[in-house]
């Protein structure tokens, strides 16, 4: 699924940009639910991540949501040429064919055979007598049979958490900017806040203010994001929404301290500017000196 975010809520500003569907997309649906999100920041990354998203969806057996925005979706951008590796193979994930089914004693659609939370699946019509199952929204056991047994239900919910952990190493890693190490401050950003953030870093550098930087490219967060937060005293989280939604995800998922995460927010429908980021970081550093 591709969500070209615009200024919300409701119809919002039909021609203006925003990054304000982050929290909604991450936990969309009732019950305990988490979704894979990808955050492209250039047209080329939109292209590449779309291809990756298909692979991830089949590998992890779950919907993948790419969160782009109107700035990327409607404005003209200068882009590097798109590249395709002709040797690239589609990743279909754990799909059993007829021969493999023949070798299996009993197929369990939700059986965590490999311990990574991702079970094997079959495609309808594969085998005359093995591998068919009934997909249902209700709780079921590892063999896809209906059950309201508490243990079976909880086991499946726990398997989904194992799958969530597994997916952390499958989704695109964050991009770390080269650093001289030892900076006390870090900045975190994603998507179309990238250019302004990079420019703001240059502006800060000119005033001898050095910050480390990381661009988040996916949810769930890779271990590197955790390490980045842990290794800095202060983290500026730059985003284009009112409610600091990415910051909320960092707190919920990484147990990051709210006091450490300083929001830099723009939500007027126009892309965030380097000047705003520069000013707010300088202001904060001055105040806390």
């Amino acid at each position: 699924m591709i969500d070209v975010q615009r200024s919300g809520p409701s119809t919002g500003m039909p021609t203006r940009t925003q990054q304000s569907d982050v929290l909604e997309a991450a936990y969309a649906s009732h019950g305990d639910t988490k979704h894979i999100l990808l955050f492209p920041s250039t047209p080329r990354e939109c292209f590449e991540m779309t291809a990756d998203a298909f692979d991830l969806a089949e590998q992890i057996q779950t919907p993948v949501i790419m969160l782009t925005d109107l700035d990327l979706g409607m404005n003209d951008h200068l882009s590097e040429p798109f590249v395709w590796d002709d040797n690239r193979k589609y990743k279909r994930g754990k799909v059993l064919n007829a021969e493999e089914l023949d070798k299996i004693k009993r197929f369990g659609r939700y059986l965590d055979v490999d311990g990574d939370g991702i079970p094997y699946r079959t495609i309808p019509g594969t085998h005359p007598t093995k591998g068919s199952f009934f997909t249902r929204g209700t709780s079921r056991d590892e063999y896809a049979a209906y059950t309201e047994d508490s243990g079976a239900y909880q086991k499946n919910m726990d398997r989904l958490m194992v799958k969530w952990e597994t997916s952390k190493s499958l989704v695109p890693k964050p991009f770390s900017y080269p650093t001289n190490k030892g900076n006390a401050c870090g900045i975190l950003f994603f998507g179309t806040s990238t250019y302004s953030s990079e420019e703001a870093m240059d502006m800060l550098k000119e005033e001898n203010v050095f910050v480390d930087a990381m661009r988040i490219r996916a949810f769930p967060f890779n271990q590197d994001v955790n390490a980045f937060i842990d290794s800095h005293e202060t983290i500026f989280v730059i985003e284009q929404n009112r409610d600091a939604q990415m910051r909320s995800l960092l707190m919920i998922e990484l147990q990051a301290s709210p006091q450490k995460l300083i929001p830099i927010l723009n939500y007027d429908g126009m892309p965030i500017t380097a000047n705003q980021i520069f000013k707010e970081i300088k202001q904060h550093l001055t105040n806390t000196k």
């Binding site: 882009s79 040429p81 798109f82 590249v83 395709w84 590796d85 002709d86 690239r88 193979k89 589609y90 495609i123 309808p124 019509g125 594969t126 085998h127 005359p128 007598t129 591998g131 068919s132 199952f133 009934f134 997909t135 249902r136 929204g137 209700t138 209906y146």
Partner: protein
């Protein structure tokens, strides 16, 4: 659930061409109320698939939410099944069918699922002429939530609590004809001999085949005053015709009365022989079918049997000209235009 199906089966149950006996086409034991019309429809589906020598793994059964939508658990346990969300079975069927055109798709729905929450999906799956059989088990009430009137309850019909329905009913069969469906039939869960040939013909129809089956809810809508009770339906049904489904290769051996018989050839060579009971009705003429339905309504009767069939129906894959090979077995080689095509796109943007 503690139901246990008796294990004993007659050891010499007849087998079909594939070597399966009818029990291979059955499902789990039904947990619906004893006497539920839906179970008779499930039995008719089982019998039809057995008779047609369908390989169970070549059929996908799909449903939405409701008593009717629970039934795929009660037939064809060797087929893939998908119990989707409320009123959204057509979307799942459309996706599955587009991915693999070679399977048989059997959708089962109810009047709540199709005529209310799923109305938009129903209308558009008809319009797209998706190659599937779509059966509505129509009891005019919400059985799973204790019998409230549904949108197909007839105006003036009384429900179990004695309340009279104040709204016009939605006539799904007429609607399907009006919307351009190529195969529309209507039946009654109490008439297995009519249901079976209809289901067989529907499975052989190359496109969207709709069967609206009046299926009384024994628990919540079988009272005096209900127009969906067994007694009422039995007294008010009028068949368009008797139907014989004649498989490919088989000779038409039955003798039919002169002049009143219409033979509809199916795309695979099988035939449906309709012995007409309704005058001024041509099953291959949409306008005539609409007239027959309207006239029956005016007489207060429920027209059952084959209502309309379009022999030239072409399903979605034909219309949009997809590849003959099912999309889900195409590989990188077939699907990916590769770096050269991409270079052209890059060049066009320079």
């Amino acid at each position: 659930m503690t139901y246990v199906r008796p294990k004993f089966r007659h050891p010499e149950l007849p087998k079909n061409k594939l070597g399966y006996s009818v029990d291979y086409y059955e499902g789990a034991l039904s947990t619906l109320c004893a006497g539920c019309g839906h179970d008779s429809i499930s039995a008719a589906i089982v019998q039809s698939c057995f008779d047609l020598n369908i390989e169970p793994h070549r059929l996908a059964k799909l449903s939405g939410i409701g008593c009717s939508s629970k039934t795929p658990a009660y037939f064809l346990s060797n087929s893939h099944g998908f119990n989707s969300v409320h009123g959204r079975m057509p979307s799942v069927a459309t996706g599955a069918n587009l991915a693999n055109r070679d399977l048989i798709y059997l959708g089962v729905s109810g009047d709540g699922d199709s005529a209310s929450i799923g109305m938009g999906q129903f209308v558009h799956v008809v319009r797209r002429n998706l190659n599937m059989v779509y059966i509505v088990m129509n009891n005019g009430c919400y059985g799973l939530t204790k019998g409230q009137d549904s949108a197909t309850a007839d105006m003036g019909s009384k429900n179990k609590s004695g309340k009279t329905n104040l709204f016009e009913s939605i006539d799904l069969a007429s609607l399907a004809i009006e919307l351009g469906a190529g195969f529309v039939a209507q039946s009654f869960s109490g008439d297995k001999s009519q249901m079976i040939p209809l289901i067989k013909a529907a499975m052989n129809h190359p496109g969207f085949a709709f069967i609206n089956v009046i299926s009384p809810c024994v628990t919540f809508n079988n009272n005096v005053g209900s127009t969906k009770s067994y007694d009422y339906v039995r007294q008010h049904i009028e068949a368009t015709s008797t139907i014989d489904f004649v498989p490919e290769m088989a000779e038409i051996t039955t003798k039919y009365e002169e002049g009143s018989t219409a033979t509809v050839k199916m795309h695979d060579g099988s035939s449906m022989v309709l012995s007409k009971l309704e005058e001024n009705w041509d099953p291959t003429n949409r306008h005539s079918a609409i007239n027959a339905m309207q006239s029956a309504k005016e007489r207060g009767e429920i027209l059952t049997g084959m209502l309309f069939v379009d022999g030239d129906s072409q399903d979605l894959h034909h219309v949009i000209q997809t590849s003959d090979t099912p999309l889900n077995i195409l590989t990188e080689r077939d699907l990916c235009p590769g770096s050269i095509a991409l270079e052209d796109i890059n060049a066009s943007l320079r």
